[in-house]
């Protein structure tokens, strides 16, 4: 019915599409297809596979080596959305600027970012890491202990973030949070931020770091931040972890307090 020539005329459009969004196709391949393949083949979950690899290839007690092994695995074998080396550097810089004593991390997944933060903390600081999924939390616990951080420095809380935040003051005795790192489900960013504001744990100068605000993106969160006027906000533009062409950003919010 429709002649072949007209269909052929659509070829440039298809080619353009494929070339312009090639990184997204590659990401899809690595994050979804390869994962399904390995899930079927080995029967372990992705995080367990990552832990196996780290266990066999990294030096225990050395956070640096653990992070490097993780990076290697994520860039060559499979894809896990840790914070990655580039954005990790930005986070290290922010940490060294602010030297927070009380840090809350929402969503530790495999424990990569926990290790990264804990590595840069000063003596006497304490990191509270919240992870919703029990299996991931188990892996994260193992990774953190492998890196050599004890219970004094890092405490892993296994529970959804919206349940934990109201209890932080009462059960864990926190008065003020110097830094909050958000890397869990993007749709929870805004609710958790509002919960933190309501709980009074953010003081003037508290820093909130939110990862992946551009891809996959947290538009409600950004809208809330812009409108509320409580924060001085900045978006650090970088690329998505372990990927070259997909643009992503990390939002750094400094709480100003109600005027």
């Amino acid at each position: 019915m429709v002649s072949g020539a007209i269909v052929l005329a659509f070829l440039p459009l298809v080619l353009t599409f494929i070339i312009r969004y090639r990184y997204y196709f590659v990401l899809f391949y690595r994050a979804v297809l390869v994962r399904i393949w390995y899930d079927c083949k080995t029967g372990l979950s992705r995080e367990e596979r990552a832990f196996q690899y780290v266990l066999t290839h990294a030096t225990p007690g050395d956070p640096e080596s653990i992070l490097e092994t993780f990076d290697l695995w994520c860039s060559t074998v499979e894809f896990i959305s840790n914070i990655g080396p580039k954005k990790g550097k930005i986070m290290d810089r922010i940490l060294s600027e602010h030297c927070p004593l009380n840090v809350l991390e929402l969503g530790s997944h495999c424990g990569y970012s926990t290790v990264r933060i804990a590595r840069a903390l000063p003596l006497g600081a304490r990191l509270y890491s919240v992870e919703m999924d029990a299996r991931n939390a188990a892996i994260a616990e193992k990774v953190i202990r492998l890196a050599g951080f004890d219970d004094d420095m890092v405490e892993l809380i296994v529970s959804p973030s919206d349940e934990v935040i109201p209890k932080l003051r009462s059960e864990y005795g926190l008065e003020r949070l110097d830094l909050v790192f958000m890397d869990h489900w993007k749709k929870c960013y805004r609710n958790d931020l509002q919960a933190l504001e309501g709980s009074g744990l953010l003081g003037k100068g508290s820093v909130v770091l939110a990862d992946n605000v551009l891809f996959p993106g947290a538009p409600n969160f950004l809208k809330h931040v812009r409108k509320s006027g409580l924060y001085e906000w900045k978006i650090h533009r970088a690329t998505l972890e372990y990927s070259k062409g997909i643009r992503d950003g990390m939002a750094e919010l400094v709480y100003q307090g109600i005027k």
């Binding site: 019915m1 429709v2 002649s3 020539a5 007209i6 052929l8 005329a9 659509f10 070829l11 440039p12 459009l13 080619l15 353009t16 070339i19 312009r20 969004y21 997204y24 551009l214 891809f215 996959p216 993106g217 947290a218 538009p219």
Partner: protein
Amino acid sequence: ERGRGKRERKRGRKRGRGKRERKRGRKRGRGKRERKRGRKRGRGKRERKRGKCCRLPSPSPCCFSSEQESPDEQEENELEKLKEAVDDRKKLISTLRGKPLPMTRKLQTLRESQEFVEKYEGAIGKGKGRKLYAYKVMMLKKWMKFQRDFENFKTACIPWEMKIKEIESHFGSSVASYFLFLRWMYGINMILFGLTFGLVMVPEALMGMPYGSMPRKTVPRAEEANAMDFAVLWDFGGYAQYSVLFYGYYNSQRTIGWLKFRMPLSYFLVGVGTVAYSYMVVIRTMARNANEDGGGDNNCFNFSWKMFTSWDYLIGNPETADNKFASITTSFKEAILEEQESRKDDNIHLTRFLRVLANFLVLCCLAGSGYLIYFVVRRSQKFALEGLESHTWWERNEVNMVMSLLGMFCPMLFDVISTLENYHPRIALQWQLGRIFALFLGNLYTFIIALMDEINLKREEEEMVKLNMTIWEAGLYNETVGVNSTTPPIAIHPADIPRGPCWETMVGQEFVRLIVSDTMTTYIMLLIGDFLRAVLVRFLNYCWCWDLEAGFPSYSEFDVSGNVLGLIFNQGMIWMGAFYAPCLPALNVLRLHVSMYLQCWAVMCCNVPQERVFKASGSNNFYMAMLLVILFLSTLPAIYTIVSIPPSFDCGPFSGKSRMFDVIQETLESDFPAWFGKVFSYASNPGLVLPFLLLMVLAIYYLQSTSKSYKQANLELKKKLQTVSHDNHVSAIILCAIPALT
């Protein structure tokens, strides 16, 4: 006269100043307060509070202390001083705009000066001439007011001015430049429309033979059944084909109507006139733009230029301002990087290889698209031979669809390939424009070559039809009239008479169909690619896993260069086809009108400002140059067909002539006196034309070399200015340093 007594002195002191007078208004002598008040920039407390800013103190009529002058002389002096004061005020009013004062102060000065001038101007004219002077002044003021109102009216009459200003404030000057270009094109097309409509279509419609009176003006019997169908009309067949819209309808009668309007001559001259007018307008605009260019020196003071001249003061929208801010920052970063990189060139071989590869890919794409069009045109010729009714709509309109689709999709592919090359955005834009230009040109010329094949086919058919017609006529006569009698010929309905093929109408129809399909494709792509996309992004974003606005589809940006090129090429097609289809300028005016509104709406509703905002003002002359090239290239085929192919024998205003330009010869012979024809034949003698051409070439060479020498002189002066300012700077530094050293 001699001495003045006390009383006289008291009485006659016209100009003497008493205490009260001094207090009232001293012009010359200055007391303490006067000095405080009348200092040029200094102001008293009350004045500062009041905000007065006029520097000229108000002269009072009595401001002279000399008692010895006669009353007349005193009056004269006084008038002169008053006149001076009024002139000063007038000068102040005229130069007020350039003074570095805040706006409120300027407005106040203006008001006070105007009041002063009004109050004392009438008093200046002396004696009898006073009334005339006042009258002159009043008339001058009324004239100036009228001029100002007329200017305002003219500005208000410019169409779409507010729309374009709004777009400019949202999107920056490069997007607005597209709309300015569109408006300019609209103006040109209006003039072309006026010419073709008024001098070709209307005379034939009003004064020519009506529809149905001649074979060429009537729908053939075979096609009559579906001549009114929408599908046929949309393809410009049926009744649309046999109307003033196309070449074939026109009669070759030398004069028509009671005005003795020379239709064929008018047709020919309008065709030539549209081309000539277009050339004139394009070259005049190019010359004007070349003057405005100013020859900015791009090599020196790069960062100073960027720092002080990057901002676009016409922006009125916060998002655009943010984007502009970000883009200026990026351009600074780039400039710094470029400075650093120009010292070291690493991996230039890889860059060169990638660029060669990119060009190779682009050439492949161009070749592929050219071959596809050629293939499709051949197929359509095959279809035409088999008879068009046996094919579906898709197959019949294959050529147009393929050309429009390729024209829409290949530029996107070029854009993506150009990321391999790693050029600066401005250079990348020029390469992109060049490639799109090559694409459109290739497509157009492939189309024309295919059209030439069809023309040749039709001309062969013509020979056969001529033969058949004589046989048919002879047959007709022998049937009805058996004898060689002088009875009048039988009335046969014009719809039944066999007629010759009309290649000119066919050419006109092809162009009209191409333009219609191009327009439709553009609008549909606009609606789908911009509007539908924006709707999806906006409303699906609530329930989608990633941020659609920041990530994959996001809102589209307005593609200035692609749209400008599309506009230029459409105009080229109009120029090509206007001779064979007088309806084309009218169609184009309609198209541009609708485009303006549709694109303005689409831009404001569906597009976001570009992230990399760089000024396209330098490209203004580039677009004009391309327009000129297209004008030249598109008039070539039309001129070739006019000069070398004989017109159809059965249709159009030139039927029966051996060449179309014979109409000029005919007019010279019959309408002008004999001596004119002789003069013309002398003037067109090659012996006269060749030296004239030589003279013109030499004049061009001379003008070119003088302009080059002026440019040189300009550059020298600029360099001198730089060294002088540098010397001043250095000496200033030295002068400042000396006290520090001692």
